[in-house]
């Protein structure tokens, strides 16, 4: 009797602290987003006077209305969706091919390519802007979404490759060998048998790349000059310069910009862990 009493108290303490810590993490993760939302619905005239109140005495949708109807934001938004979506897809395809080769073939160049991928991550991106501009300009790829997609893809391929490789490592080689005996070439076996089995991994990679491309500011700012090819982080920045920092509108734009990224993230986050588990990194 006392024994079970003790263990159940223990259990309660355990789960109590478990939920408490979970709650702490959730609050830490969400509070800044809540603040973003709060600022975006606070009318301009009380933005500073009620700056530290948890919720303003009056709320307004004006900032949202402005962003959606009077600014270039819908255009920036669309550009961002195009750039991030395409980057995510192309990067995942390229990384899947490379990750597959890393996982299945032993070849001389492998070490060199891995080293190349690591070393290029060590150079500050800032310093690549001018040279990249020099290379892309004659090709007509500056000031264009295509150029941006190419650059983002190149930057994200290394990490995505390592990710995809770990997924492929988790799939037995026997499977494509069976398919090759059944009548596939290796590439067909890769496409028809192996790739469908790594779908969670593909989703995880898509998610990582999409969010990375979605928030990229530096290159979007430096490689693109025209409004029509600007992505939304650049648009956000334009609130700072052009509209003399209208925080309410900027935060509203920020909240709006979060929606697709969050939606996408929520959609794939289930696969994120599942996918990474399937291709668990092995010692």
């Amino acid at each position: 009797m006392t024994l079970t009493g003790q263990t159940s108290t223990r259990k309660m303490i355990y789960w109590g602290s478990h939920y408490l810590m979970i709650a702490a993490f959730v609050i830490f993760a969400l509070f800044p987003l809540y603040w973003l939302l709060k600022v975006s619905v606070t009318p301009n005239d009380i933005l500073y006077t009620e700056g530290v109140r948890m919720w303003p005495s009056r709320t307004t949708w004006e900032n949202y209305a402005f962003v959606l109807t009077q600014s270039n934001f819908p255009k920036y938004f669309l550009n961002s969706v195009i750039v991030s979506g395409t980057t995510a897809i192309v990067t995942t395809l390229v990384a899947a091919l490379t990750g597959y080769a890393f996982s299945r073939f032993a070849f001389r160049g492998k070490v060199i390519i891995v080293a190349l991928m690591l070393i290029t991550q060590m150079f500050p991106l800032v310093m690549l802007i001018a040279p990249i501009f020099k290379i892309l300009a004659p090709l007509g790829l500056t000031d264009s979404l295509t150029g941006l997609i190419i650059v983002y893809t190149a930057f994200n391929v290394p990490f995505a490759t390592f990710l995809m490789q770990s997924f492929f490592d988790g799939i037995p080689k026997d499977l494509e060998e069976a398919a090759m005996i059944d009548g596939n070439t290796r590439f067909e076996a890769f496409r028809a048998i192996i790739l469908p089995l790594t779908l969670p991994g593909v989703a995880a990679t898509l998610g990582f790349v999409f969010t990375a491309a979605w928030s990229e500011l530096l290159f979007a700012l430096m490689l693109v000059s025209s409004e029509s090819a600007s992505t939304f982080p650049v648009g956000l920045l334009s609130f700072v310069s052009k509209f003399s920092v209208d925080f309410g509108q900027m935060m509203a734009a920020g909240v709006l910009a979060l929606i697709p990224a969050c939606l996408f993230f929520l959609l794939i986050q289930r696969y994120l862990v599942q996918g990474l588990t399937a291709g668990a990194v092995k010692g």
Binding site: D174, E177, A178, A179, M180, I181, D182, G183, T185, I193
Partner: protein
Amino acid sequence: MASIQIANARKSYGAVDVLHGIDLNISDGEFIVLVGPSGCGKSTLLRMIAGLEDITSGDISIAGNVVNDLQPKDRDIAMVFQSYALYPHMSVAENMSYALTLRKTAKEKISDAISGVAEILGLTALLERRPKALSGGQRQRVAMGRAIVRKPQAFLFDEPLSNLDARLREQMRTEIRKLHHRLGATSVYVTHDQIEAMTMADRIVAMHDGIIQQVGSPVEIYDKPANIFVASFIGSPAMNFLKGSYEISDDNGAGVRLSDGALVPVLQAQNAQNNQAVTLGSRPEHISIVSDADNGLPAKVELIEPMGLSTLVHVTLAGKPIKIFTMDRPNYPVDSFIHIAFDMAKAHVFDTSSEQRLPPTTEPHSGHKD
């Protein structure tokens, strides 16, 4: 159906030689079992036949055509993997029809073929299931079915039964043999299990360290092992070995003088010199327990191991452990002495340094030579 020729095939991974010049001719419709300890290169050889591994040098031909440069898909062979390698995202039916679909076989033909094979293997009720929802034995059958539907030129098996429990393994052994009778397809079957080799093979290929040690029918391999490796690997419980020296007696008889001075008479061996260092080999069932001291050597009882059908008596002779197989039900006390006698006609003499068997000058009959 097709014959398979392997001519001086070698395989190395970098500086490591895995297969050292394999020569093997497999006739049309034959069931060949490659047997040997793990790591001896069986799978590598099988995968070279399948086209999954490159051949470092040499030739492999199927149906008379050199296939060295052919992709696996163009070799028209089927393979059953140890892991079964079933496609997890396809149903049983889809797994089995995959190869035919790739070959653009007509739909009706495919479904006919599949229902036929499913019938044979008892898979009819499982056709719509995913591999995940099958037991180990059922998966094994699907893997077999996937190979059979294609009617390939040859079947390759890589330890297909090693993930099954003992009873199921025994049952599948028989079934695979029956299937082979029915289909008559050339088959190459890899296993490390000598019982599988003995029970299933038309011919056994015994391998060790990337070299073929002996090729022959199961009875041949069992009765006339080419060397100590084959003799010790095939047969369970394993053959007994005793080191000694070869002696020719005045009356043209021969014997092996053991380290303790005892003489075991054997048939005269070819090319054996007097006093040559030899190893006497005798299977447990070729040693008998005798009652009188005159005809037997004294041996100390270590352990009596009842095996149901028979009993295994462990003794020491000349300081070495010896196993004796008997159909009696002996109950000697441990540490007591008994007398044992070697069946002279069945005893083997091996040259100790080369480990090769020195066959008797007149080989007694055992099965047929082909």
